[in-house]
């Protein structure tokens, strides 16, 4: 479906699902984290088991509006605890398929505009193999300048008669028109949305700018780094969570009705150990929490939860990953009109009804 955009937010470093969405209704959680646990009632209560972290308070309006889906204990089938193995594993979306899952998504979805956009200096693994993907530090980099636009116009008649390249060329010309003179500084968010001055929020604001411009854009990839919380995690996860929630909330508010055609999915490479360590941090674990926002998502807490009892934990005491991450991504992909089997060819699990 053209004109729908998938926004994938990757929390790099292994984000602690039990910090983002604590199981503060579960006594085992309090026991496992005597010093780090959030007490029940300080964060928005999601159901009898879970609350949002207090630092994610900015997401509460989305939750109450039924626009925030929370899936706990998501993971890949591989219990690796290596960042450098787990990140590409999830970004590829399977062992056997070629390229990254967002690249395959963009390819199957089809576009002759921008295909996909990543903020940063490098193209992430999830976009590996996508054609016409661009990594930009800021939108101004996309301004083609008048000469490229003129070049496209000059060649329009020739391309029009080309059976293969005619349509892609026409779409490219239209994208060029829209991107012309694009300046980040000119952007005015709507509906009173206030983006923070952090890099994550700035990138989301630019994504909103681009989406509202009407340039066909199947996917945007945004990374938020710094989740590797081995030590004193309260201190630096708190501001990071505020940045995450503040950015997403401003983005959703700013998009307004356009949020209907945008799906935001938040994921990470793995969650963290259930029990806190001696340094007031948590070590690499397995199951993580994932958020899906927008695009007509069914809000609520989804998935299966086997609790935090010793028998349900994996290996050194990790969430077992009862939900394959593709059960979360597949329904999102489908909502954008793409057959999930094309994106995750070696996955045949049951999509979560988001």
């Amino acid at each position: 479906m053209l004109n729908r955009t998938l926004v994938a937010v990757f929390l790099r470093g292994g984000a602690d699902g039990l910090a983002l969405v604590p199981a503060d209704g579960d006594a085992d959680y309090q026991r496992a984290r005597p010093r780090l646990a959030q007490s029940r009632g300080t964060g928005t209560i999601l159901d009898e088991r879970f609350s949002l972290a207090t630092e994610l308070a900015a997401l509460a309006p989305l939750w109450h509006a039924g626009q925030l889906a929370v899936v706990h204990d998501v993971a890949s089938g591989d219990d690796t605890r290596s960042h450098f193995y787990a990140q590409p594993l999830l970004e590829r979306g399977g062992e056997r398929a070629a390229g990254g899952w967002i690249a395959r998504f963009a390819l199957a979805r089809g576009t002759h505009g921008l295909s996909a956009l990543a903020f940063g200096t490098a193209i992430p693994e999830s976009l590996r193999g996508a054609a016409s993907v661009s990594a930009v530090r800021e939108l101004d980099d996309l301004d083609p300048g008048p000469r490229v636009t003129a070049l496209g116009q000059r060649l329009a008649a020739l391309y029009d008669t080309d059976p293969w390249l005619g349509a892609p060329a026409a779409d490219t010309r239209s994208a060029l028109e829209r991107l012309r003179g694009l300046r980040r500084a000119d952007y005015r968010p709507e509906r009173g949305a206030e983006y923070g001055s952090d890099g994550f929020s700035i990138e989301l604001a630019q994504a909103a700018q681009l989406i509202k411009l009407g340039v066909d854009l199947p996917a945007v990839c945004i990374d938020l780094h710094g989740w590797d919380s081995h030590v004193a995690q309260d201190q630096f996860l708190a501001p990071l969570m505020r940045i995450l929630a503040g950015g997403l909330a401003a983005f959703a508010l700013d998009l307004g009705p356009a949020l209907e055609r945008v799906s935001i999915v938040v994921y990470t490479e793995f969650g963290r150990r259930v029990g806190e360590n001696s340094a007031l941090g948590t070590d690499h674990g397995h199951g993580f929490v994932s958020f899906v926002i927008g695009g007509g998502v069914r809000g609520g807490v989804h998935g299966t939860w086997s609790g935090l009892g010793a028998t349900s934990l994996l290996g050194p005491g990790d969430l077992p990953g009862t939900v394959d991450y593709r059960r979360v991504l597949a329904p999102v992909v489908e909502r954008h009109g793409v057959d999930a089997r094309r994106v995750f060819p070696d996955f045949d699990g049951e999509p979560i009804p988001l």
């Binding site: 990254g100 193999g129 016409s132 003129a150 000059r154």
Partner: protein, 477 residues
């Protein structure tokens, strides 16, 4: 793809079919010299030559001394790459010192340096080598035996893989090429062969599966999961020395890690105790399998003839592969001798590496092995040795249709001198060719008139050059 390999295989219904394939009419236009083409201005290649230089190489370079050749002569010359003088390319590659280092010594460099020089070497060779067909064939094998320089120690090992295996054996026999791939430390790393050991648990099947599925028989080629497991057992015990060891990259056979029991691969018995020789038997069995001939034939025809390769061409190519004992030069020659090849002018889309190299060649650009040009390939999604999965960059045109925005930008940046690492002087490019019409004729053969390109009314030389490079004709090959 209209005819799937499975349909082809079904239609073959057994190896006996190959016998009758030899009787297919040979449509060999390579031997049939055609001197009757109308006289062209000196230095202007005829359309057949433009076609073969564009399809089998990285496009026409206006300063190429062979533009007066006939297409068939050029192909025959290109099929013997070692006889072609290639001093300019060798000189330019000399700055990339790691390319000449023995395998283990590449480890002395930072892995980013090794990877950068490897990628720069691929691009510079495509642009400057006079052995254009070989560069195209090496690119073909680079995808067939794809590996990513981002896995394990591949960044250091891929240099030797490219040079000592793909380049060295690209036009020899398939069997020697496969042997080289199979026992190269880069592939042992990439597909985990080095971790495949029989002592302590089940062997690692990763390489065995890709060997059958991608490198030889192909998906649906008639092997079973049992064959994968048997091949994995047969290849167990091969490993390579890693970082921290002396003689890094050295490939060794460790009998203690090898499964010494008898095996059965694709219906053939491997007696117990063959040890290191077992790998030779496996290579022999998979190379002789009729599905391997078809798989390689189909991919060659897809690369050199059409995205939907004509079944007759595939069958004839497979027959040549079989009857020549997997002689890649003969097999390729038979592909290029097909009428379907001659008739397939501009039937394919240049992949990004091809497009970028062709633009640099057309402009006689002065290229430096800096990051700039490699960034262009990265943006277009086609950096050498970066495809993450073992199936290689897609060969079909459809995959690559979406990148026009970046192709146009590159065309303009290049013509205006705005690509870091590539110097182009548009005025000089046109002057050397003898004018804009002559330039277009050299690069594209009979192509659209200048008026259609909108060049007639364009006074700016840079924009005129960019227009040619960004035109639909230039995207095709």
């Amino acid at each position: 793809m209209t005819t799937s390999r499975r349909e082809l295989l079904t239609s073959l219904a057994g190896a006996w079919a190959f016998a009758s394939l030899a009787a297919l009419p040979a449509m060999d236009w390579l031997g049939a010299r055609r001197r009757s083409s109308p006289a062209l201005a000196a230095g202007t290649p005829d359309d057949e030559l433009v076609h073969v230089m564009t399809r089998c190489g990285f496009g026409v370079r206006p300063s190429d001394p062979h533009l007066d050749m006939q297409a068939d002569e050029w192909l025959e010359m290109q099929l013997e790459p070692d006889a072609i003088e290639d001093g300019e390319c060798e000189r330019r590659l000399r700055r990339l010192e790691s390319l000449a280092l023995p395998l283990g010594e590449v480890y002395e460099l930072h892995e980013h340096v090794a990877r950068h020089e490897l990628q720069a070497g691929v691009l510079l060779s495509a642009v400057y080598s006079a052995r254009q067909l070989r560069e195209s064939v090496v690119e073909f094998w680079r995808d067939h035996f794809s590996l990513s320089a981002t896995k394990g120690e591949c960044a250091w090992l891929a240099t030797s893989f490219e040079r000592d295996v793909l380049r060295e054996r690209s036009l020899g026999t398939f069997r020697e090429l496969l042997r080289g791939v199979l026992l190269h430390p880069a592939m042992l790393w990439y597909l985990d062969g080095r971790l495949n050991r029989a002592d302590g648990g089940a062997p690692n099947e990763n390489y065995a599966r890709e060997l059958l599925e991608l490198h030889t028989l192909g998906l649906g080629g008639g092997y079973t999961q049992a064959d994968v497991q048997e091949v994995a057992r047969a290849l167990s015990g091969w490993t390579s020395r890693a970082l921290g060891a002396s003689r890094k990259g050295l490939v060794e056979f460790d009998a203690a890690r090898h499964d010494r029991e008898a095996k059965r691969v694709l219906g053939r018995e491997l007696p117990a105790g063959l040890d290191a020789d077992e790998v030779e038997r496996v290579v022999e069995i998979v190379c002789a399998h009729p599905s391997t001939a078809l798989h390689v034939a189909r991919k060659l025809c897809l690369r050199f003839i059409d995205d939907e390769p004509p079944p007759q061409a595939v069958l004839a190519t497979a027959a040549e592969f079989t009857s020549s004992g997997g002689d890649l030069r003969k097999t390729l020659r038979s592909v290029l001798a097909r009428e379907e090849f001659a008739a397939s002018r501009r039937a394919k889309l240049k992949r990004p590496l091809h497009f970028v190299a062709a633009a640099l060649r057309a402009c006689d650009a002065e290229c430096e092995p800096t990051r700039g040009l490699l960034d262009v390939l990265e943006r277009l999604g086609h950096s050498p040795y970066q495809w993450p999965t073992p199936d290689g960059y897609p060969a079909d045109s459809v995959h690559w249709r979406g990148g026009l925005l970046w192709r146009w930008r590159f065309a303009l940046d290049l013509a205006c001198g705005g690509v870091h690492g590539a110097r182009v002087d548009a005025r000089r490019v046109f002057e050397l060719a003898g004018g804009r019409s002559a330039f277009v004729a050299r690069c594209l053969g009979s192509a659209p008139e200048l008026e259609a390109l909108g060049l007639g009314s364009l006074s700016d030389e840079d924009e005129a050059l960019a227009t040619v490079l960004a035109s639909p004709e230039f995207q095709r090959c």
